[in-house]
């Protein structure tokens, strides 16, 4: 009786969300994993998991969907390409986000919240609208594209197309993910002890040495945290390649969407989703290890 009394609060609080998330997150995810081992149904979807033959239960599961993935190099190339896009996006976010995070961390306290808010604010406007904005800017008739082409042709090259290229996909991905890089970087840089920089200066370190030998190593946990927050969603992206990219710019997310919604080959779509999950877990584990090492060193 006492046990019930002591744990009543815990049960009342945790059961409703627990039951909901088991039903609408854990169970669906489990079904997706099982679906990867089944045959596709005749009209899409899934074939039965077992048959009753002569009164006996016969399991009807297969590894064929995984085989297909390993046998067709095109799918592997698509995974590698998606990882490439996500990597370039992450590096670009570091290059753009680092100076900004640094400046915010070093500016007077009363402006910091405002400067941070200005970074987050665009993030709160709809994701599609932000991608769509780049459709306007990179479109063939836009002032930006024409200006770029004036420069390009004056240098003696053929005019370039910006929209529906891998370049446009990267720009869109960097735009959407930049706040995820700036916030953890800021949180890290803001805590640095500036006396360390003074000490380095007294010992004769140049500005570059002060950054490379002091600030950068100390900021690595922030860099890794930000990289995980950018890389993971970027890896599974399908809307940005769909809207800003051409047919050559599709990513793994586009293939998953096509298999699940258009072709309705759920088993293969599930296999691809599982591989994507695997990639995400791998990156998360790597990020955690690197962040810990960065903290120690």
């Amino acid at each position: 009786m006492n046990w019930v009394k002591n744990n009543l609060g815990k049960w009342v609080l945790s059961w409703p969300p627990l039951v909901y998330l088991v039903l609408f997150f854990l169970v669906p995810t489990t079904i997706m994993f099982v679906a990867a081992f089944r045959f596709p149904g005749e009209f899409g979807g899934l074939a039965p998991m077992y048959n009753i033959e002569d009164g006996k239960l016969v399991w009807d599961l297969t590894l064929e969907n995984f085989q297909r993935l390993f046998e067709e190099p095109l799918y592997w190339q698509l995974f590698l390409k998606s990882a490439g896009y996500a990597t370039v996006t992450t590096l670009s976010c570091i290059a753009m986000g680092y100076p900004l995070a640094w400046l915010i961390a070093r500016s007077p306290k009363k402006y910091r919240d405002l400067l941070l808010l200005l970074v987050i604010l665009p993030f709160w406007s709809n994701f599609l609208i932000r991608i769509y904005a780049w459709m306007i800017i990179l479109g063939p008739a836009s002032a930006f594209t024409r200006a770029v082409n004036v420069v390009v042709t004056s240098l003696g090259f053929e005019p370039v197309q910006l929209l529906f290229t891998p370049f446009a996909v990267i720009v869109g991905m960097v735009y959407v993910h930049l706040p995820f890089m700036v916030l953890p970087l800021y949180a890290n840089l803001e805590k640095h002890d500036l006396a360390l920089l003074d000490a380095a200066q007294d010992l004769g370190a140049s500005a570059w040495q002060r950054f490379w030998k002091v600030t950068w190593p100390l900021s690595l946990p922030g860099v890794f945290a930000g990289s995980a927050l950018v890389f993971i969603p970027a890896l599974g992206m399908f809307a940005i390649p769909d809207i800003l990219g051409g047919t050559d710019s599709i990513m793994i997310g586009n293939l998953i969407k096509q298999q699940i919604l258009d072709t309705r080959d759920w088993p293969f779509g599930s296999v691809l989703s599982i591989m994507l999950t695997g990639g995400v877990l791998l990156m998360a584990a790597l990020g955690a290890v690197l962040a810990r090492r960065g903290k120690r060193g």
Partner: protein, 264 residues
């Protein structure tokens, strides 16, 4: 003291801020442009807004989005608050995993698993046909985590001795929760609810998978408009949606810090 930020750091920051805001400004500016093309400024017009308000499909989608946003933020706030309080008070095993994972994985994974789940359940027992209900159920699932994080943060900033004082004065655990804990964490709950509402209104990926042919939302309409033919009507609806989000943020920032000042 270390030196102040150098000029090139300022320059880099200004360029990045321009990079962040110029696209949004362009969308708003072109929503008032009297040209079918999003290329050059021709003249001022509110034509695209009037056209938008006569677009049946858009209005229906906006109504759907609003409905889904309200219902799913209500439920996810209740579940998320319970989860947030539970996470901060007790050592739990499964709940932290279930609350945090949906936030950490790419959205597409949740979309894929949910659509398979709904269709299978529908085939077996005939409920959960893809449409409004499945969108709402999915939005609740992915918003719980965000609400829980905000509420947990608020709980951790709370002075536990206030609850103990209430208990010493004879309050039952339920009374202590309702009269002391709940008012103290209310700003966190409201902030979480607004966050859930915004996330729901804005969500594209999970909605795209779980909507079926049964229902459309604003992001789905915007997506199909972008895919088929880009007209300045998209600029108009985008500008309005931005305005709505801005209003919500202002409300949230008013609710949270003022309450922070009086209570903590």
């Amino acid at each position: 003291m270390a030196k102040k930020p150098s000029w090139w750091l300022w320059a880099a920051a200004v360029i990045t801020y321009l990079f962040l805001y110029l696209p949004l400004v362009i969308v708003v500016v072109f929503s008032f442009n009297d040209s079918k093309l999003n290329a050059e400024w021709v003249g001022f017009t509110t034509h695209w807004y009037t056209q938008l308000f006569q677009n049946e499909k858009m209005l229906t989608a906006a109504g759907n989005s609003l409905m889904i946003g309200i219902v799913s933020s209500l439920f996810s706030t209740v579940f998320g608050t319970l989860a947030g309080v539970a996470l901060s008070k007790y050592k739990l095993r499964l709940l932290p995993f279930l609350v945090l994972t949906p936030i950490a994985i790419p959205e597409i994974l949740m979309g894929v698993s949910l659509v398979i789940f709904y269709v299978l359940v529908n085939q077996m027992i005939g409920i959960l046909e893809l449409g409004m209900s499945t969108i709402i159920l999915s939005h609740i699932a992915f918003c719980i985590g965000f609400v829980a994080i905000v509420v947990r943060a608020r709980m951790q900033g709370m002075d536990e001795s206030l609850v103990e004082a209430a208990r010493d004065l004879g309050a039952t655990p339920l009374q202590a929760f309702r009269l002391v804990t709940l008012p103290l964490i209310m700003p966190g709950i409201i902030a979480g609810a607004l966050m859930a509402f915004t996330l729901s209104i804005d969500d594209f990926v999970i909605t795209f998978f779980t909507a079926g042919a049964g229902a459309s939302t604003l992001p789905l309409e915007i997506y199909s408009m972008i895919k088929i033919a880009v007209t300045p009507e998209v600029n108009a609806v985008s500008s309005l949606l931005m305005l709505l989000t801005l209003v919500l943020i202002v409300i949230a920032s008013r609710v949270s810090p003022s309450a922070l000042r009086t209570n903590g």
